[in-house]
């Protein structure tokens, strides 16, 4: 699935060649559209020649429709597509400054390259100016200090801003662009060619334009309806692409391996617990994060859970595996890396690291129901229990139930009677290690 994984050829000649060829296509199309001519570019700002607006916005809506369409069809993974982080204030300030530069110089960096390539002297001068301008910025960036990073909103897209689906956002953008084109055509007529605008001129008349506009609008309506893939859909294509199989139990990790990872200080191990609040309060792993299963239906919440350092290892847990697996699918579908499920859930965890009998007794009268805890907790211990943090490497497992009565009992009978099972410090569980930490692929921006 696109974007293509080019990591195998990263840094090689073929990799640079790809970017070179993209540049060739870019430069050629700009030149063909007349962007090598500063007079044509500047005429935009006197409403005489609206080529810049037409080309730019046509390019944006065509690309946006193609991107959202291929994402809707499962051909492109949007989460892997680079979206420039939004730094609102620097972006607006820089934009206003660039507007001034545009009207004075008659180019923007990309178009000046095209002009320079066709030996336009003003283009060459402009490129030189851009070079100096970037140097000026580099030298003075320190003066700006933190202001450069003000209003960092991260990856923030229009659909997220207005809380509407991606397909609908693209549709509205297309409609807006078509309206702007209509205005641009009228502006060119009036300001550019000095023609009078009568009633007849207000009606769109050029058939190819009407047909093209209808086609783009139609396509975006179709894809607004088809919608973007849900987390579950995404999970399925991600799983297929990465070869993860639930049937082969790939993401299910033995509790003892989880305990090992909790001891590894180079990795931040995170536990996401999707059980009920009651169960969570009764017992949970030390440091576990309680997340309700229903909240994972919210895309923005899932996105927030993705916002963790690259060395974060996430284990999803429920009482058995059912809820955890559903939650895991939502997280992986949302793009979370290095996520696994604790095999057997809390019930298996407690069977391997059993709490003292005074805290919890195994459910013996019947089998536990669906996603029911297999231990009855006499007290709600939360994470204040040995089983919450077996990684603590006690030399001798602490006795947790230490009432006066039990102390007396122990003195007579011996420590083992308060335990549900005899504790063996050397007990090693046999399991196969499965977790492989994936490094995040470094994606850069389009500029710099």
């Amino acid at each position: 699935m696109a974007p293509l994984d080019l990591s195998s050829i990263a840094g090689s000649i073929s990799w640079y060649l790809i970017f070179l060829l993209i540049g060739v296509a870019f430069g050629a199309v700009l030149e063909m559209s007349g962007f090598g001519d500063s007079r044509k570019l500047a005429a935009q700002f006197f409403l005489k020649d609206m080529t810049v607006l037409k080309v730019m916005f046509t390019a944006i809506i065509v690309a946006a429709v193609l991107i959202s369409a291929s994402s809707a069809l499962g051909l492109l993974d949007m989460s892997k597509v680079w979206v420039n982080p939004t730094y609102l204030l620097p972006g607006v300030a820089g934009g206003l400054i660039m507007g001034v530069g545009f009207i004075i110089g008659g180019f923007c960096p990309g178009t000046s390259l095209v002009a320079a390539s066709t030996l336009k002297l003003d283009g060459v001068a402009f490129v030189g100016g851009v070079g100096l301008g970037t140097l000026l910025f580099s030298e003075t960036a320190g003066l700006l200090g933190d202001a450069r990073h003000a209003t960092d909103m991260g990856r923030f897209t229009l659909d997220e801003l207005f809380h509407i689906p991606l397909g609908v956002t693209v549709l509205l953008l297309v409609a807006l662009a078509l309206i702007m084109f209509y205005g641009a055509e009228l502006a060119e007529r009036y300001f550019g060619r000095g023609e009078k605008i009568d009633r007849k001129a207000l009606l769109p008349s050029r058939k190819p334009y009407i047909a093209a506009a209808a086609a783009v609008l139609g396509i975006s309506i179709v894809f607004a309806f088809i919608g973007q893939p849900s987390s579950i859909d995404r999970w399925e294509s991600i799983a297929r692409a990465s070869g993860v199989s639930l049937q082969h139990r790939d993401p299910y990790i033995h509790p003892a391996e989880v305990v090992e990872w909790r001891q590894d200080i180079s990795v931040y191990t995170r536990i996401i617990d999707v059980r009920s609040e009651g169960d969570f309060n009764n017992f949970h792993l030390a440091g576990a994060m309680h997340v309700s299963l229903s909240s994972l239906a919210n895309k923005e919440f899932v996105k927030a859970l993705k916002n963790v350092p690259d060395n974060t290892l996430t284990f999803v847990v429920s009482n058995t595996e059912e809820y955890a697996t559903a939650a895991w699918k939502a997280l992986v579908g949302g793009g979370l890396k290095n996520a696994y499920i604790i095999e057997g859930g809390i019930n298996k965890w407690l069977s391997l690291y059993p709490p003292d009998l005074c805290i919890a007794k195994p459910l013996s009268s019947r089998a536990p129901g669906k996603e029911e805890m297999a231990f009855i907790f006499e007290q709600s211990v939360g994470e204040n229990c040995y089983a919450s943090h077996p990684e603590a490497l006690y030399k001798e497992r602490p006795i947790e139930c230490d009432t006066k009565q039990q102390r007396e009992h122990r003195a007579h009978e011996g420590a083992q009677t308060v335990r549900s099972v005899p504790f063996d410090e050397n007990q090693k569980f046999s399991f196969t290690r499965k977790v492989k930490m994936q490094k995040k692929k470094k994606t850069g921006g389009g500029c710099g």
Binding site: L4, I103, S117, D122
Partner: protein
């Protein structure tokens, strides 16, 4: 014009825009990134600076990010793209007979003024582009295609800035 080797006409802007949109889409599809220009120009400047004052490059944070220490600033996909842009522009210019040493300027100003304005405009643009973390190709087009809020805000700012000052600089062009 009676020149038999006349330049060909420019293509229809909507067609040009569509082609550009396809190129943009292709870039995202193949590489996951869009296109850009100002970053590469910045890197070339750093490379030039490296020849004269490498210690300076190491010491100024913004420069060091691109070319400090042992890293080679020209070794970047952006620079490859810039070279391609120059090549593509040139090839199209040749095919369309538009490669010509000339100066495009408004009728009311001298060539020297035009060169000066181009230098000044470029200087302002270069500064603004680094502040905004991209230029129209990188921020506006690529960011717009993926619906980045910052890119649209940036785009409108450019248009506002230019339109607001157009009246004052009308003599440069008309």
């Amino acid at each position: 014009m009676t020149n038999p080797r006349e330049a060909r006409a420019y293509i229809n802007p909507y067609l040009g825009g569509t082609l550009l949109g396809v190129v943009l889409f292709g870039a995202f599809y193949i590489t996951g990134n869009g296109i850009g220009a100002s970053g590469a120009i910045n890197r070339i400047m750093v490379a030039i600076l490296e020849l004269f004052a490498p210690q300076h490059v190491d010491r100024v944070g913004y420069l060091a990010q691109m070319g400090g220490g042992t890293s080679f600033s020209l070794e970047s996909t952006g620079v490859a793209m810039l070279l391609g842009t120059l090549l593509g522009g040139f090839v199209s210019g040749m095919v369309n007979r538009r490669v010509k040493v000339e100066l495009r300027k408004g009728p009311q100003i001298s060539p020297a003024m035009r060169i000066g304005a181009a230098l000044l405009g470029g200087l302002i643009m270069g500064y603004g582009a680094r502040l905004a973390r991209g230029c129209t190709s990188g921020q506006a087009l690529s960011g717009g295609a993926v619906l980045s809020v910052g890119s649209f805000a940036f785009m409108f700012s450019i248009f506002i800035g230019a339109y607001a000052l157009a009246y004052f600089f009308r003599k440069l062009w008309n």
